[in-house]
């Protein structure tokens, strides 16, 4: 009656969503103030004021058949120009509006790119720890995910393992920095080394492995950390961007795909991107929020609020004895589980009202992800629970 693979994907929600639903139920039972939900990556910092101003201005001044009408499949031309200008002003990447494709958010950027690239037998490398949906998207596009482990001291990829994983069937690699779930920002040295390994493989196998830079957290970098622009590090790069976090618009599904001017056969890849968007049913990205994003391309939410959250939870947890690497970006803390099985640890944490996501589906068993895109107040209130949790392992 239906497709079994799709049924499995739909009936077994992601572990993140399961925890989130559990939290809502639990809050109804014991009170919302006794549930500390660190499960979802849903920004709690509001969109910058410019978003509301831009939306109101568009609604009152733009002819409504234009505002809400179809744009070109690849996105409105003025919007694509605004995006390219912004990329070029910030990173000097030399991107052309003709190689920008507006999308319904980061997930769509990835599924469209993967479907555009995937040929029979192609492998795509995922660097653990990685966002679990990557594996779903690669398989749904007909590709084979190949997972590379990480260095537990830094959460950077294990470069020796990466070298071994790249083979004649490697079509692409997804690089996500700042990283979900670890909050790590890969250093320029790490990225340069990844680029070298890819270039060597390209020469060896006479192909062009595509670096897919998944960048929803690009703007969320704290302190002095630097997040190099990947087009400037490796020529065959496709950037998948979203305004979900950078403008706090996750529900509006608005993002883009940008092809590097140095990407091999970029005309062909761009046509395949347009074709994949068409085949998956993405007629165009939501029109009004294309215009809003273009108007707000330099706006940011209150990123300092996330930094303050990071400082609070990182300091408090390490002081209590939790083991974690200080994250420089995104809004996640990746903590070593207090027992070998992170699922058992996550279950025990529930008894203290703490909803934290086991790392197994991120390709990192033995860890849990804590999303700190929550109120500062909730983090403060949750600290006794974190203390009780670690104490329970000392008895």
């Amino acid at each position: 009656m239906f497709n079994r693979t799709m049924y499995e994907l739909g009936s077994h929600r992601s572990v993140i969503r399961e925890l989130f639903e559990f939290g809502k139920k639990r809050a109804a039972e014991v009170g919302a103030d006794k549930v500390y939900d660190f499960s979802l990556g849903n920004p709690n910092v509001p969109a910058p004021d410019g978003v509301k101003a831009a939306a109101e201005k568009l609604l009152s001044l733009t002819d409504n058949t234009l505002l809400h009408g179809y744009t070109s499949a690849q996105g409105d031309a003025t919007v694509r120009k605004a995006v390219a200008d912004n990329i070029n002003a910030r990173f000097g990447a030399g991107v052309s509006p003709d190689f920008i494709y507006m999308t319904c958010g980061a997930a769509a950027s990835l599924t469209v790119t993967l479907n555009a690239l995937r040929e029979e037998g192609d492998e795509f490398i995922l660097l653990a720890p990685y966002f679990p949906e990557y594996a779903v998207f690669v398989k749904a596009a007909g590709g084979v995910p190949v997972v590379v482990p990480f260095d537990p001291e830094t959460f950077a990829p294990d470069l020796d393992a990466l070298e071994k994983a790249i083979g004649p069937r490697t079509k692409g690699i997804i690089v996500n920095s700042p990283n979900n779930p670890s909050g790590t920002v890969y250093t320029r040295e790490t990225l340069t080394r990844i680029a070298e390994l890819l270039s060597q493989a390209n020469a060896r196998y006479d192909r062009h492995i595509v670096l897919i830079a998944d960048e929803p957290y690009r703007e969320l970098v704290y302190g002095d950390a630097e997040a190099p622009y990947l087009m400037n590090v490796y020529p065959d790069t496709v950037v998948c961007y979203s305004w979900s976090k950078s403008l706090s618009l996750p529900g509006e599904r608005i993002g883009y795909i940008a092809l590097s001017p140095r990407l091999c056969d970029k005309e062909g890849v761009y046509a395949a991107v347009c074709g994949a968007g068409r085949a998956l049913g993405y007629v165009c990205a939501p029109a009004m929020f294309q215009y809003v994003a273009a108007a707000c391309v330099d706006e940011r939410p209150d990123i300092e609020a996330y930094r303050r959250n990071r400082d609070l939870i990182y300091s408090a947890l390490t002081e209590m004895g939790y083991d974690c690497v200080r994250p420089d970006g995104a809004f996640y803390l990746f903590v070593r589980s207090l027992e070998a099985d992170a699922n058992a640890f996550s279950d025990r944490a529930k008894n203290y009202g703490l909803l934290i996501v086991p790392g197994d589906s991120f390709g990192a068993p033995g860890y849990v992800r804590i999303s700190y895109c929550v109120s500062h107040d909730m983090i403060e209130r949750s600290l006794p629970a974190f203390r009780a949790l670690i104490d329970s392992y000392k008895k």
Copy 2:
């Protein structure tokens, strides 16, 4: 370097888009007043005032992290309830909000449904004349399109041919009434007969063929014509809806999938729908326009404007000698080509500034589609060109 199928889909645009792009170029050369573009189905009637009011109210009164935040993957619960209530009040269909899935528009409704249903070797029946993207969506989902011809007197499906086309591999049939490209509204008699043929096949092959009702034009019905609600005609029905035309919001990509309460194993199909949405990268439908659509679920644009256009162009063209069936819905007129090859006819029409789409890709060679969702004034100004075109065949 890329997927060849996607490349072909992206580099050969649909013939509709090609004509539209030609029109823009031609207008720059000879003046916009000398190009009569009847190519696109882009509503020219503005969204009802309620849309702007609802959007402004949401922007000013709703907490912006809620307004722009993720909704559940299946759509916000209050929105799904509003949709189900509306369907039930109008059609008594007994739909549950738990079997509504909000989508990024009609195309997404279809690709998600097709991917959810498709198993190895499955065929999907398309009733000519049909929207060309149906074939793209079926193939991209891994299915096999099977085209059934039509009765040229009524543009209703040839029911004998349909009976022969239904076989043991038939998984579904797409029914689109009011129809793009013909404007035909299938009669209750026709729909009942289709339902009977499906039910007989279900008994014969011990399966449940799914009727996929693609309903973006449901609200655009003129005069006394009736468009029966398909859930009430056949039990195994999935409705794919969009507000693109019914609220004039085509660029905002907002619609839904509704499963009939009588659909076989609807829990399984719904899970597969959720899984397909996930696999294709549809995280949730655009949040703010979910709320706008729910607030405006009973609003309509000025449908009389389309009726006036229909009356003008239908009367004028038949009076001149063009051969066409009077459309009762949507905003298309499907006219018999004045020569065997509708592509040659469409090309000749260009010389008179008339952009009309050859019917070959709709599964109906020998016809052209005229979209009359344009200004009444442009239709009036175009009439001498239509006359000159038909006269050119009399010389």
